[in-house]
Amino acid sequence: MSILVFLEHHDSELLKPSLGVLSKAATLGEDATGVVLGSGVKEIASQAGKFGAAKVLVVDKPELEAPLPQPRVDALASIVEDRGFDTVLFAASVLSADVASGLSARLQAGLNWDLTDLVQENGILIGKRPALGDSVLVDVGWRSEPRLALIRAGTFDPQETGGDAEVEEFDAQFEDFSTAATMVERAHAESEGPSIEEADVIVAGGRGLGAPENFKLVEELAQALGGAVAATRAVVDAGWYPYSTQVGQTGKTVSPKLYIACGISGAIQHKVGMQSSGVIVAINKDPNAPIFEYSDLGVVGDLNEIVPKLTQLVRQRRS
């Protein structure tokens, strides 16, 4: 297999989910190649070597300055056609889903999404895809090359294997329609901690917090654990917390190593967004809350008492 991995970047850093996919690719193929698309990105391309890339292709063009999908489809289509990669992998994100889908139409190439693993069975690549609210695990395959796949964010951890990547520039041309959409403004919130897609630890709050100001409890615990804060749809809809933190079917899908759910009943809507987390701890006063059915540790009790104590204990242990 010759695998190309789309390496997404932000603020001059390659993103962790992309590097995780790269590390996985390095275990599957002969030599995994990364691709970095952007403007002024030659420097960051070399970061990929230590996560398993033997080579990194860079397309450095002003048309790729803004994180918009369509010029990226042009660049990737040229690369695949020129270099003959048989597999192109993406870590799922707002940007990469559109890039992968556009590339699928352009190359008439099969795209499987929301994969939580990639395996080789008798030399054939198979994707593992949880479906129908993760009640069934579907083995998916491809009928033609290149094979395209979007991997659920947080599925693979980046593995630092050392190594240097050869960085090679590639020239690409752009279609007129691909550069028709333009970025007018980017208003990016200064986040204090890691984003929920990248965090190893997430502390999430639901309606059981009782009031918006009680999110403070969740924030303090997240901070003590070095994690990110997430919210349920119910509290986002109620205006207690921003949509960017919403986990669930209409929000984000996350899989941190530790997920602490505070005052979350665990409706299916929420479950599908977080059930692939490593360890799930739930605190809820209702002993019959559905979240206890898929938690590793369920605590029936008052979160207003438990969470502050927990924060204090974590601080002590970590100091």
Binding site: S101, L137, E175
Partner: protein, 254 residues
Amino acid sequence: MKIAVCVKHVPEQARKIDPGTKRLDRSGEGAINPFDVHAVEEALRIKEARGGEVVIVTMGPQAAQDSVRKALAMGADEALLISDEAAEGSDLVATTNALAAALEKEGADLIVFGQQSSDSDGAVLWASVADRLRLPVISQVAELEVSDGKVRGKRQTEFGYDTIEAPTPAVLAVSDAINEPRYPSLKGIMGARSKPQRTVSVSELGVEGVGEAGSKTTVEALNDPPPRGDTVKIEDDGGAADKIVEFIAERKLL
């Protein structure tokens, strides 16, 4: 302004996969994908503000007429259903080929999608359709401004808010945060039946690469998901916080 809204008819209840065909069982009751209702609503608001017409475009079995009628009852003007046995089993590439062929003939100024399908959890179709139609695309739009010859969408990404502008014709995917959809009025429901509803076959569209034959992905096997370990459930007796710390420390997560 002509606005095409792409909707999907999805199974309403207990979703399951047919072990024989390995496709989603679509035999039961269906309904319009809830995310697509926001796309219909947004199209109607644009029409009300600027004039024009709204055409609903869908691909699916004849039962998809139920979803179409809901959109017509909300206020859309007409509908086009791509319905053909030859289209069954279409994956993303094959669906894109069929849908793009139909949309090309419609010649809409705006093509609007919902943010995802509730049955396949797909959130990709607009970008492939846009590529096929060689049109600009803006996805995940939570606020939309339409003016002469262009659209401006504000959307949320992992890092904050982006505002993106594109000339029309353009393809948009709207998030469910964009609006609160209306309920169809009784008059709307009664009137829906008399609105034009066309059905086309794949051969009438004159497009190749549709259906299972045009699909580039396969379903190889269905398995049970790996089970989670047992839940340890405790009641707080004042020591729950200590127990949580112990639990996560044992798993080297602290």
